[in-house]
């Protein structure tokens, strides 16, 4: 059973809310990577519509690095976010979601890949840099924010439940 896609308005509103939370959670370095991963890997990707998710991913990356004020050259995280969002959108079109378990498993794999790609791109942009433990928090809390995003995107009021 294929799950219906959320409406674009709903998804964009959720992305905007996540982006605002990323900006506001700059003083909390354990929460910000989780919100960032949620926006890039769960909320922004959309099957068959790559442009808008790409822009949300770029915005997420630039916002994160801009609020970090840590790197001398910004853009590495945004590039990795763009790549992973496009990949997630392609995966969503190629292998449509069927259950929460598959969704969380996919998010865990994408989070791991996202972590490696972000730090690789940042290394390309600015050289050696500290990793911190944000990636670990994001990976550990995959079930939490995976479930939350599942509920927000796919378990809301749908025509079938009416």
């Amino acid at each position: 059973m294929r799950l219906p896609l959320p409406t674009a308005t709903r998804q964009n509103l959720l992305c905007a809310a996540a982006l605002g939370l990323i900006f506001l959670s700059a003083p909390f370095p354990r929460i910000q990577p989780i919100l960032h991963a949620t926006l890039v890997l769960a909320l922004a990707p959309r099957a068959g519509e790559p442009i808008v998710p790409a822009l949300w991913a770029l915005a997420a990356g630039w916002t994160l690095e801009g609020t970090l004020r840590l790197y001398p050259h910004l853009g590495g995280t945004a590039w990795a976010d763009l790549t992973l969002t496009l990949l997630a959108g392609w995966m969503a079109a190629r292998w449509p979601l069927e259950s929460l378990k598959g969704w969380i498993t996919r998010l865990a794999a994408l989070t791991l890949l996202h972590t490696l790609l972000v730090h690789g791109a940042v290394r390309l942009a600015v050289g050696a840099h500290p990793w911190g433990y944000g990636w670990l928090w994001a990976l550990v809390t995959v079930p939490l924010w995976g479930w939350a995003s599942w509920r927000l995107l796919h378990a809301g009021p749908t025509p079938g439940r009416r």
């Binding site: 790559p50 442009i51 790409a54 770029l58 001398p72 050259h73 853009g75 590495g76 945004a78 590039w79 763009l82 790549t83 496009l86 791109a121 390309l124 942009a125 600015v126 050289g127």
Partner: protein
């Protein structure tokens, strides 16, 4: 829109893919440029402009060297002109100072001779020389005013010159030893043979009354013998130039040692000096005594 889509042949999906590719590539290039992306353009500009910069540097260096060489050449020319002027001035100064220096040198040598002869010697300057004329001589600037009298011996550091022939109030005339009518009592330094020196002119003289039995060598020194009571014994007269056997006596030609044509200052012996004078005693310089065992 339909016509354009047909003409281009691209669907909306393709356009989306193109935009995504450009977005991804642009972001990736931005990331790869790294911090201070201007440095890449600077480096590229440096690489591109390296030949022209090298050429410009060589051109500037060549111009600088040329200007430096021109300036050096101008400085060298100016210095050369200055040195030439200084050299001319120094030559003029040397020419002006030359006679005075020669006179001072002669005075110093006369002073040395005066210290070696323990007699009361008087000095006079040669005003004029009439030697090229027949019976010519040297005219001195002193006469009776200095207490001079005829037959006083005249000498210079190189040797004897002659004797005073006539004395006036302020001048006196010297009869040189090479004059034909001049005679000086001499002796040979090795054989101790004595004779009378008579002039031959041109700085030469001949010794008469030397026996054939004497052995005389060319180059032997001839000294005054003191028998004429004009010169004391032991003053240098000249050196033997020729020796020839005669009928009764040797013919000994002597080159006078005094430069009779180039005399400016002379010393005059007192009248009838003693036959022999002892040179002044100079105490030898004592060497510092060494202690035994010290180097």
């Amino acid at each position: 829109m339909a016509v354009r889509a047909v003409r281009w042949g691209w669907s909306r999906t393709r356009w989306q893919r193109l935009v995504l590719a450009l977005l991804w590539l642009g972001q990736g290039i931005w990331v790869l440029l790294g911090p201070n992306p201007g440095r890449h353009w600077t480096r590229l500009a440096e690489v591109v402009s390296r030949p022209s910069q090298s050429l410009a540097a060589r051109w500037q260096g060549w111009r600088a060297n040329r200007n430096l060489s021109a300036r050096d050449m101008a400085e060298i020319r100016a210095e050369n002109a200055r040195l030439t002027s200084e050299l001319a001035q120094l030559k003029t100064q040397a020419a002006q100072e030359g006679p005075r220096l020669a006179e001072a040198d002669a005075a110093v040598r006369l002073l040395g001779l005066k210290q070696q002869i323990p007699l009361e010697l008087k000095a006079a300057r040669v005003m004029f020389s009439t030697r090229p004329a027949t019976f010519g001589g040297l005219i001195l600037d002193r006469g009776h005013d200095l207490g001079l009298v005829p037959d006083q011996g005249v000498l210079v550091p190189e040797g004897i010159v002659g004797r005073l022939w006539s004395v006036s109030a302020t001048q006196s005339k010297v009869l040189p030893a090479d004059a034909p009518n001049a005679s000086v009592a001499v002796m040979l330094i090795r054989s101790r043979a004595t004779g009378v020196l008579q002039g031959l002119g041109s700085g030469r003289a001949v010794i008469r009354y030397v026996s054939n039995q004497e052995v005389v060598q060319v180059g032997e020194a001839v000294m005054t013998s003191g028998l004429d009571r004009v010169f004391p014994r032991g003053l240098l007269v000249g050196y033997v130039a020729e020796v020839a056997q005669g009928d009764l006596e040797l013919r000994v030609v002597v080159n006078l040692s005094a430069p009779l044509d180039r005399i400016s200052t002379v010393l005059l012996l007192p009248p009838q000096p003693p036959l022999e004078v002892q040179p002044p005693f100079f105490a030898p310089e004592q060497k510092p005594q060494r202690k035994r065992g010290t180097p």
